[in-house]
């Protein structure tokens, strides 16, 4: 059970980070924290239910890497254009 508590704590930290951080990189980092929290609980549960959870965790690592490739590309493109990655600056689209 301690795995579950640790992963809930990690997930909650991630959610807190997403809500409070104001730069795109740190928000993204918090989201990665949430993914890893899920990984931890998958592996933890795999102790009780067999290998399926561990395989799932490996898949998630690959998915997270793909997400990083696209996400960091986007953030770099934004930074080149505005010299800033603060999410509060993204306010052209309103209505």
């Amino acid at each position: 059970m301690s795995y579950l508590y640790a992963s809930v704590l990690l997930f909650a930290l991630g959610v807190y980070g997403v809500l409070t951080r104001r730069t795109a990189i740190l928000v993204f980092l918090s989201i990665e924290l949430m993914l890893n929290a899920a990984n931890l609980s998958l592996v933890g549960f795999a102790r009780a239910f067999g290998l399926e959870g561990q395989v799932a965790a490996l898949m998630v690592i690959a998915i997270a890497a793909a997400e990083v490739a696209v996400g960091l590309g986007l953030i770099v493109a934004i930074f080149r254009q505005r010299e800033s990655t603060a999410v509060d600056d993204l306010s052209e689209l309103r209505g």
């Binding site: 991630g14 993914l35 899920a38 998958l42 399926e52 959870g53 696209v70 996400g71 209505g95």
Partner: protein, 426 residues
């Protein structure tokens, strides 16, 4: 079969893109999507399973809608780069996979396979496009994280990774809730809709067409599977929020794409109502009418301008180009749900199912908000008849497709029974 065609074309075209000209590449993409459509129709109603890949009725209906959206987008767009078409193809592959599996991890892979190309497509116009894409990306990644954590808890509660496994206890309820949040982001159910207006406004219109049709179809298919053993009661709240917020916020909009974005939130609410009352056929039919009508509206807008389209710029469209003007008029009336158009029967089916299930509170709310929506749909539809100097330079094919879809909407409205058996059998 469909999976094979789509993946074969995605891989082959990735290599081919560097050697052939862009117009030829576009034809290859259309060929691939058409072959996938053909293989889907040839195997209609025949289930197929290989490992975690399950083709069944739900998968076929929702894949059909996603393929139609993809074909429409590819046909509409005039891009100078082959990557655009390739990304649409990859996203379609993800949509088909998402609709055709019960394995939660494979669902997550499919969800990313459809989302990552769309993040890139949203940036296609620099400037506003980048802002829209970053918002879409951050909220999409957050949704994926919620979905994954839901998957992990689901695994802990039931011991396996198959969506639709019955279970009980607080851990299971929490898992379903998190899965619901993750998919709610993707279909733009309020209160997880923040990204929708900005992304729809900032992205190129053909891409928005794809988002509004394909992504919704695929994500609702996944939602159907997750909610199979018993719909969580929290969905009722999402339905209420979505129909209220979507319709009320749309009232004040002066820009056509933003207006349609709020309308898409409201429609997601009506579709979730069909899901809540547990009728897959009603959901499929509603989604079909929605895909046709909203696709038509975005297709007309993209012929007017790939950029923002304030309602002012639509004035006089009917005089400038009668076919496009009528197309937008028919599309907005169908979205409103006025008889004798297809949208009416979609709403009729959903509302009668809600009445049968005894969901009177939600039904009354849906009816009232639906009446409220008349204000903005009529404003959008009637703008084309007013005096003004609308510009449009449509190609003959775009006008032909607009005419065809408008006729289809009217035809489906006159004889809705024609497709219902096919949807129920598929």
């Amino acid at each position: 079969m469909t999976l094979l065609v789509l993946s074969l074309f995605s891989v082959a075209l990735t290599l081919l893109g560097f050697f052939v000209s862009v117009p030829l590449f576009k034809r290859f993409t259309i060929l691939g999507l058409s072959l996938a459509l053909l293989s889907l129709l040839l195997t209609w109603g025949k289930p197929f399973a290989l490992g975690p890949y399950h083709v069944d009725g739900i998968s076929q209906v929702f894949t059909l809608l996603a393929l139609l959206g993809a074909l429409w987008t590819v046909g509409l767009v005039r891009s100078g780069r082959f990557e655009f078409y390739l990304l649409v193809l990859y996203a379609t592959l993800g949509m088909h996979l998402l609709a055709s599996t019960q394995n939660l991890i494979l669902m997550l892979v499919a969800l990313e396979a459809l989302s990552l190309p769309l993040y890139a497509l949203a940036t296609w116009r620099r400037g506003e496009g980048l802002e829209a894409a970053l918002k879409y990306f951050l909220l999409g990644a957050l949704a994926a994280a919620f979905f994954l954590y839901g998957t992990a808890l689901h695994y802990g509660a039931t011991g396996n990774l198959l969506a639709g496994t019955p279970g009980e206890g607080p851990l299971y309820a929490l898992a379903l809730g998190l899965l619901l949040v993750g998919l709610g982001f993707k279909v733009a159910l309020a209160p997880f809709h923040f990204w929708t207006p900005d992304v729809y406004q900032g992205s190129p219109t053909p891409v928005v067409l794809f988002m509004a049709t394909g992504v919704k179809a695929a994500a609702f298919a996944a939602l159907l599977r997750v909610a199979a053993p018993g719909v969580p009661d929290a969905l009722a709240l999402l339905v209420a929020f979505s129909v209220l917020l979507g319709n009320l916020a749309a009232l004040g909009q002066k820009e056509a794409k933003r207006l349609l974005a709020y309308s898409s939130i409201a429609h997601a609410g009506y579709m979730a109502l069909a899901l809540y009352t547990g009728n897959a056929t009603a959901l499929g039919f509603y989604l079909l009418t929605y895909v046709l009508a909203t696709g038509l509206a975005f297709a007309v807008l993209s012929e007017v301008s790939p950029d923002r389209v304030p309602l002012e710029r639509l004035k006089g469209l009917f005089h400038r180009d009668p076919l496009l003007g009528l197309g937008l008029f028919v599309a907005s009336l169908s979205l409103l749900g006025l008889p004798p158009l297809a949208g009416f029967w979609g709403k009729y089916l959903v509302f009668t199912e809600a009445a049968k299930a005894g969901q009177w509170g939600l039904l009354v709310l849906a009816l009232i908000t639906s009446a409220v929506s008349a204000y903005y749909y009529l404003a959008l539809g009637l703008a084309v008849f007013q005096k003004g100097a609308a510009e449009a330079h449509p190609r003959p094919l775009a006008r032909g497709v607009a005419l065809g879809v408008a006729l289809l909407l009217i035809l489906l409205g006159l004889i809705p029974g024609a497709v219902l058996p096919a949807l129920a059998a598929g």
